[in-house]
Amino acid sequence: MGYLGSEDIVLLIEDGVYAAAAGTVKSGLIEKLLEQNEVYALQADIKARGLEQLIKKVKITDYEGFVDLIEQHTPQSWL
């Protein structure tokens, strides 16, 4: 997170979507990030993990939205 610029957006995929869950000991980190940056999470990965209570400002996207985000930004994949 320390490597993000204010224009950068974050897309959570695969196990990364656990970070979008509300009420965890780490939720505060994402809430803080949301003060400056947009955070997206991939719907299919959320559904697969049965996550229901998400941090409110996290935006949900599908695979098409995923592609759009890649088109609009310079992706950097942090595996």
Binding site: D15, T24, V25, K47, A48, R49, G50, Q53
Partner: protein
């Protein structure tokens, strides 16, 4: 003590989240294999492993094998000693009632739930094992 005649206590420990890697699938395979032999099997979910027991997981859009349903039938495989770490749940904001049942009681038909335990209680169980297989 003649160890060879003693029934082995085997514990499978699940510590990883279920879908990003195949560790949980592998753990499940091992549980079912161990359960097929005359051993006392117990299963413990620690750390991110507790996510494996969360209700409402639907992997249909991932196109991966829907192995989660097996956790709802562990009792059918005579895997009844299933434990979950209390702190791991708390740290992840998961309530006990959000965990899947692990099967039905043979006699009453009542759902069987995994048992939520403290670190200390899990430690005690670990002391009783001959073998611990960690995933």
């Amino acid at each position: 003590m003649n160890e060879s005649s003693e029934v082995r206590n085997v514990m499978v420990v699940v510590r990883k989240a279920p879908h990003g890697t195949i560790y949980v699938q592998e753990a499940l395979e091992v549980m079912l294999i161990v359960a097929a032999y005359s051993m006392n099997i117990s299963v413990v979910f620690l750390d991110d492993g507790v996510y494996a027991l969360k209700k409402g997981q639907d992997t249909s859009e991932l196109g991966s094998k829907p192995f989660m349903s097996a956790f709802r039938a562990l009792v059918d495989w005579e895997i009844e000693h299933v434990y979950v770490d209390r702190d791991a749940l708390k740290n992840r904001g998961i309530n006990e009632n959000e965990l899947t049942e692990i099967g039905e009681d043979e006699n009453t038909g009542e759902p069987v739930h995994p048992q939520v335990l403290s670190h200390k209680e899990i430690y005690k169980l670990m002391q009783e094992q001959h073998t611990i297989l960690s995933f």
